[in-house]
Assembly symmetry: C2
Homo-oligomer: 210 residues x 2
Amino acid sequence: MLLYDMAKAPNPRRVRWFLAEKGVSLPMVQVDIMAGENLAPAFLAVNPRGVVPTLLLDDGGILDESVAICRYLEGLHPEPNLLGRDALEMARIESWQRRMEFEGMFNVAAAFRNTQPAYAERGMPGRIPPTPAIPALAERGLMLAAHWLAELDARLRDVPFVAGERFSIADITAAISVDFAKWVGLRPAPEQEALLRWQAEVKARPGARA
Amino acid sequence: MLLYDMAKAPNPRRVRWFLAEKGVSLPMVQVDIMAGENLAPAFLAVNPRGVVPTLLLDDGGILDESVAICRYLEGLHPEPNLLGRDALEMARIESWQRRMEFEGMFNVAAAFRNTQPAYAERGMPGRIPPTPAIPALAERGLMLAAHWLAELDARLRDVPFVAGERFSIADITAAISVDFAKWVGLRPAPEQEALLRWQAEVKARPGARA
């Protein structure tokens, strides 16, 4: 297998962190999204959709959604478990993973992407028709991302980790989204003590540096 | 278990269709999102997040993300399988499910939500700060949803179902998103024959009427 990666981007980092938790390493190739390498012919020959991360499988097939790549890796390397052990835990973790993605990462991405000159005509990821940036969407993303940080702080006053009692993929998505939020000038406030406690704890994991 | 549902809305329909494929029925309560019942105290006491569908579990807990609810139901009722049988198939189905959601449903929802007077200050679902509609986002959603229909047609020229050889949750999300697109005036074109062939096939399933 071969992982097409971009070291600085938040989505590929989700897969790298997941791999690090599993103690697995994969060969990687860097693709510079901001420079548009993901839309150049060489990469489109690998993945016509033009998104990173992309996992090239040994049979020549690809997987190119971060969470789907993680689910495949969980199947190959079940321990430590990061997606849940029984039906209810799997559902709870998936629910929190999705919330961190939609309320956190997507809002931060909207705030970032709609203000960057490099993305002036690439309002969404991958190979799509010209999609102009929407300044009002950047504003909305910033407002909702700030709201998400406050809600996450409230959640982490009740439980040690995002999905409950133990570390899961929901923490990976959340922690990367909190880091990503710095790119748009948003940081946990000093009074968000539960969020800061959790952030320090998850950032101390080796996977955080993957 | 008790399912909080809204008969006309696309997200709750995903869960109802999934249940119908499994041959399972659950008691349901209707919540009128457009009238704001999801944000009224009675429903916020059930789910402070204010989103539908919400599955109330027998232990008093809730699940409130459609795909997470489906994953729980798959665990309880494994047949017929709709989420994949092995690691690779699970990942492929999840990948296609996510694409149908992000490229289809989310774009249609943006086109719909940002043009409805009922949602003038509720640009996103659930209990969040006032979030004004963004007309440019409705336009973008419409453009990208049309692009998605064309891509889906191309995909269905190669394979019978969205994720490949058999019906899965990815078809449920896709079919409901295609129906939802009618709300914003978008329909498969007569020349999108593969899309129309697939649509006729999935709409003939009993779950389509759930």
